[in-house]
């Protein structure tokens, strides 16, 4: 038995799009196997397949073979995975706050002995053996190096401890042979993370294999024995850690090189060199995407890309500047101070934004295309109104004419300007959002995740539109995107944000390695010092 787990030639489609293509993952007993990849590389899908999650079967299953300890198995539900000795430490804690640690660890696997009632009414009513349960829990807690009393309620524990309780619960399961850690260090402090890595090593030493999902290269180097890198649903390769390096891993993770890169034509005139937007020490309190002290200068007339992994704060920047989430710091637009937390002032100053949350913030889904396009201009600039006596009411004619022009200019595919925007395809919805921003005649445009959830053809059109706006009208654009390829194809410079700060400012043709390192929070200079 060489491998505890083999997942061979896994293919998975969601509808038309392939999310996994011929991926193979082999894990030896007692090793820590890192699974590395950007957002959307296919890590989660692979793990969902391993655990037989309902979402996989609901979307037509997968192709390929899973072997546990050399035996081919079919896993149809998380319960079956558990029977095979596969456990999961979740990223979001699945603990009951009102229960003690012991109760949480032993939930649904309680040790009990029969009593009078249970003999009559079945084993559901057996008495709990608290002593034995506490003993078991203590053992598991000790093995993860947590000294806290097993009877403590989970509710008040620090986040780090909850993570350990979660791990202790998985270890306590009898016959666990493989544990999956899904980004376990994401919520931990540095010292907690270090301890976690130690615990993982000691678990591995006891013979349990670990799949360690992360995008922090440092931790992979520190803890893992083997690393498998996924990219865009395909397998890039597996390496033993001692045979690889940080740079190689970063390259593998990003590594498209110039393949498929469609760099747009270089600009004719050089930039004026003036600063359009100056951001100093910006802190944005946006849940899941908080910015923690970011400094940035945007040049007039450029397209600046902002990249980085999900949850690192790249989306927080435009939302903070536009006043949509509580923010602190100083922002200057064309040498004028911009008040924060004031969307109206931001819009009046000539800023516009195309939101990443198209359906939530970007559109009134039940309203028509024309109303969506004209709304901001009507509210901020008072356009498209006509007088009826003392009242000023919406001019249906002006709104319609403008909408028609925009539909023509941006090539929005629709039946009429009166069609509800919610019934449009993703790409056309995005164009409606852009049309609304343009109706404001902005001096500065934020575009946040413009290609999220739209098909490839529409992506290219949206990007083309942005380039056209920049080249023809000299519009300064800041584009936030999770797709590095997009950024590299149209941006003048690319800022990588990690942990709420700027981790590096790179050129579109910088090597993959630099992008990979910056994304995992290692600034290029830091690496050079090593």
């Amino acid at each position: 038995m060489d491998y505890i787990l083999e997942m061979n030639n896994i293919h998975k489609h969601y509808g038309e799009s392939a999310v996994l293509r011929d991926v193979t993952l082999k894990v030896r007993p007692g090793e820590i196997h890192a699974l590395l990849g950007e957002n959307g590389a296919g890590k989660s899908t692979l793990m969902n397949i391993l655990f037989g999650m309902p979402v996989i079967h609901a979307t037509g299953g997968f192709k390929g073979e899973i072997r546990v300890a050399g035996q081919p198995v079919e896993i149809h539900s998380p319960q079956e995975a558990m029977k095979q000795g596969i456990g999961m430490v979740h990223q979001e804690f699945m603990l009951i706050p009102g229960f003690s640690i012991t109760e949480n660890i032993k939930l649904n696997r309680e040790i009990s002995h029969p009593n009078l009632v249970s003999r009559v009414l079945g084993h559901e009513l057996e008495s709990l053996d608290h002593t034995a349960m506490a003993k078991d829990a203590r053992l598991s807690l000790d093995s993860v190096g947590v000294s806290i009393a097993e009877g403590t309620r989970v509710g008040g524990l620090p986040v780090g401890y909850m993570q350990f309780v979660e791990i202790a619960r998985e270890i306590d399961k009898r016959g666990v042979r493989l544990l999956v850690f899904d980004e376990p260090t994401a919520v931990l402090t540095e010292s907690e993370a270090e301890q976690l890595l130690k615990v993982m090593k000691s678990i591995a030493d006891s013979g349990i294999a670990i799949i360690f999902i992360t995008h922090r290269l440092n931790e992979v180097m520190a803890a893992a024995d083997t690393v498998t890198v996924l990219r865009d649903g395909g397998l890039v390769g597996s390496r033993a850690i001692r045979e690889t390096s940080l740079t190689e891993m970063a390259g593998m993770m990003i590594g498209r090189g110039d393949e498929g890169l469609n760099r747009v034509a270089q600009r004719q005139q050089p930039l004026s060199g003036k600063i359009a937007l100056k951001v100093r020490d910006l802190v944005v309190d946006m849940p899941g995407e908080s910015v923690r002290g970011l400094d940035l200068d945007v040049m007039e007339g450029e397209i600046l890309g902002i990249g980085g992994l999900a949850g690192q704060g790249k989306v927080g920047l435009p939302n903070g500047v536009m006043g949509l989430y509580p923010a602190r710091g100083s922002v200057t637009l064309f040498d004028e101070d911009l008040p924060l937390n004031a969307p109206r002032q931001a819009l009046e100053a000539g800023l516009s934004m195309v939101s990443e949350d198209r359906r939530g913030v970007g559109l009134l889904l039940d309203e028509s295309i024309e109303d969506n396009i004209s709304f901001n201009a009507m509210q901020i600039k008072g356009s498209f109104f006509t007088g009826v006596g003392p009242l000023k009411i919406r001019s249906a004619r002006q709104v319609r004419e403008h909408a028609k022009k925009m539909i023509r200019d941006l090539d929005i595919r629709c039946t009429s300007p009166a069609q509800a925007s919610g019934t449009l395809s993703g790409g056309n919805q995005q164009k409606v959002c852009i049309a609304r921003a343009l109706t404001m005649d902005p001096r500065f445009l934020f575009v946040s995740e413009p290609t999220r959830g739209i098909d490839i053809g529409a992506k290219a059109l949206v990007l083309e539109t942005l380039v056209k706006l920049n080249r023809e009208y000299g519009l300064t654009i800041v584009m936030v995107s999770s797709e590095l390829m997009e950024l590299r194809s149209i941006c003048d410079r690319i800022v990588i944000v990690a942990e709420g700060r700027v981790a590096g400012i790179l050129q579109p043709d910088s090597p993959d390695t630099d992008f990979g390192l910056a994304m995992s929070g290692i600034s290029t200079q830091e690496e050079q010092q090593r």
Partner: protein, 632 residues
Amino acid sequence: MKQIKTQWAAAILLAVLALSLLATGIWGFAQRGQEQTQAALLKMRNYAVLRTAAGAIVNDLALNAKREARAYADANGYSRNQRSAYADEQEQLARKAAEEKYFGSTKSLDRTDLNLSIEALETALTGFTRLETQEKAAYAEVWREEQKAKAAKAAEQETASAEDGALSEDALVVSAEEKVDYSGFVPSAQLAALGETLTPAYDAMYDVLETSLPDLQPAMRAQLREPLIAVVKGGESDFQTEYDHYAKTGADTIYVGGERTRMFIARQATNLVVLAAGTLVIALTVFYYKPLKRSLGMPRLVISFFFLLLLVAAALYNINVPGMMSTVLWRTGMYGVLALAMLPGIQSGISLNMGMTVGIIAGLISTLVALEMNMTGWGAFLFSVIGGIILALPIGILYGKLLNRLQGSEMTVSTYVGFSFVSLFCIAWMLLPFKNPKLTWALGSGLRTMHNMSDSFGQLLDNFLSFTVLGVKVPTGLLMFFLLCCLLMWLFSRSRSGLAMNAAGANHRFAEAAGVNVNLMRIIGTTISTVIAAVGIIVYSQSFGFMQLYNGPKQMGFVAASAILIGGATVTRAKVSHVIIGTFLFQGVLALGIQVANAAIAEGGLSEVMRILISNGIILYALTQSGGESRG
């Protein structure tokens, strides 16, 4: 594709059914005029007369048999139980034998002398019947007025509990149609004299009957006078009533086979035509199902359908349909403005403003002030409306601020605010310093529960420019006022603030991103809603004719919410058209539903149960439908 074919097939089948129903109905109408049918009807009349007379003989024989059986039993020393059982048995046997003997024969139906004598009696009856109908109608009018006054007075003088003080206008609608109690009816001297002149004609007819039924006893001449006259009197009215009248005695059984079917179709001709119209509407609905569903939405389709169904049922039950339509129009105008008050609430994102009662109370106060000062007519109305608006403005702003502090559960909060405001004012109505004796309790201080508006501005709008067309009374002023309010609201919703308010309600994050002050928009929406509610209750009161204090306004929010939801609004999205369609459909279904239910099940108190069931059921149904439906 397959679905479309089924749809077509169903539509065509239904259309064919409708057409055949229509054809049958028309054929039935044509038959009514035929000589053959008229002869058959005469035959039925003869049968009815003979049958009624024979009924007396049968009863007589049966009674005799019973008497004899008792005597026999006594003679043979039967026990008490045995005696009564024996008597009953003998009576049954005798009745059966007599019925066979007297009811079975139909051979004497064609007798010319009988025909002629009945005809003579009928002619003699004409004048009498006409006068009697007139006198009875006059009596009924007086009786109804008395009942209405009694009901209002009872409510006005309800001192014990304000809880029961609320008088439902449905109760008024129903009582107007209630069966008139004729026990107090006294015929005039002229009528009595006319009645005397009937005797020769009756005697002549009875003589003919005696030759046909030789077993008639002399005593029965007087005894049978009333029932026989009642049978013959039926001849006055149209075919349908006449047929039903004779059929009551079993006259429809004298025919068999084709003849019977023919008579039946002739009788049902009107109903067949009504059913044909109903089926045709169903066929058209099935045919245009897709576009109808898209433009109206499923709930509206179902409810409109129900409305039509009720109309057909009303026609079948012989309910006065134009009268019902008048009621529906009246109630639409009466409740319309109140339902409109829901609109700005929904548009600004506070969902259903159940707390619109705060505005209602502002409207009530200003009306009370107008009444206190003995104002009347248009002056009183305008004073109340303007005063209501001025009062409602600050209340609405404060209420809006309260709702802003409790975001996320506005519907619960507003319901409780509404209820507690009503309760607070139950105390206030007792304490407010109104002095006009027309408003206060006869003994002690405090305002009465019900206030009759007839001497101030009751029905002012209703009667303004009102006209009657095809029996439907159109309350022009009322409807115009309602539509004017709708127009103003529509204009506002096209203005900058109106658009911003709508966006704030539809998607507050979108609105925020566009620089809209969402909280301010919510306050504006709430305030407008409150102001419209104040105007709404004034319109309602003048139209209803009574103003209700204390717990009267408590349920208004629910009525308004039902109306706008039924019109196609969801708790997050609403348009002016939803208010108009919704109020019409809701009040239409309600008014017709109560009438039809009353006709179908003659039980008192059902109407109120129906009203509650329908209005709350509709809220529930509309809430379950508020998922997506309205898109597009």
